[in-house]
Amino acid sequence: AQSVTQPDIHITVSEGASLELRCNYSYGATPYLFWYVQSPGQGLQLLLKYFSGDTLVQGIKGFEAEFKRSQSSFNLRKPSVHWSDAAEYFCAVGRSGYSTLTFGKGTMLLVSP
């Protein structure tokens, strides 16, 4: 069975500092990997996705993620965090781009001035 682990429940970052959110997955085949962001009272917005090819994926809002098969990881990064990035971030895995997704429990990002 597929699973996703996001080890950090909360992370606090100073505005302007760099960010890395961790995601580890368990999946028997080549995974389809996603990062979503959810602001309070909102639905999920796709930040980026990895299907194949280049393991460094660029997304919206200046985010990027790197797929590392040997570590079963898909960590999300941003070089300089803005206060508007404060939200909850979810990593997800699926067997295709339109299959059901298994989500991690999320990481809440807090941005301090």
């Binding site: 999920l44 339109y98 991690g104």
Partner: protein, 112 residues
């Protein structure tokens, strides 16, 4: 393009009452999903439709939850009777190609 529409945005009901949620997917999207997101957790799939047929409902509590997608477009999710543990955000998503899908804003259900 228009996004995935869901209604109502919020609903408060008493336990043992019934409730229904509605979802209108992106036009032309054949696949529709309902996810349940309990506070502090990631979304969990309840049911997946391909056109008007069910693909996966293995995690749907069928003794109280039901869903339909007549004509392969809109979908409704019903809970009857509701329990306190059904309090959650119910997210609808749709997909029309290989490259991921779009979520609606969700319906926040509170059962008291």
């Amino acid at each position: 393009e228009a996004g995935v529409a869901q209604s109502p945005r919020y609903k408060i009901i008493e336990k043992r009452q019934s409730v229904a949620f509605w979802c209108n997917p992106i036009s032309g999207h054949a696949t529709l999903y309902w996810y349940q997101q309990i506070l502090g957790q990631g979304p969990k799939l309840l049911i997946q439709f391909q056109n008007n047929g069910v693909v996966d409902d293995s995690q749907l509590p069928k003794d109280r939850f039901s869903a339909e997608r007549l004509k392969g477009v809109d979908s409704t999710l019903k809970i009857q009777p509701a329990k306190l543990e059904d309090s959650a955000v119910y997210l609808c998503a749709s997909s029309g190609d290989r490259h991921g899908y779009t979520f609606g804003s969700g319906t926040r259900l509170t059962v008291v």
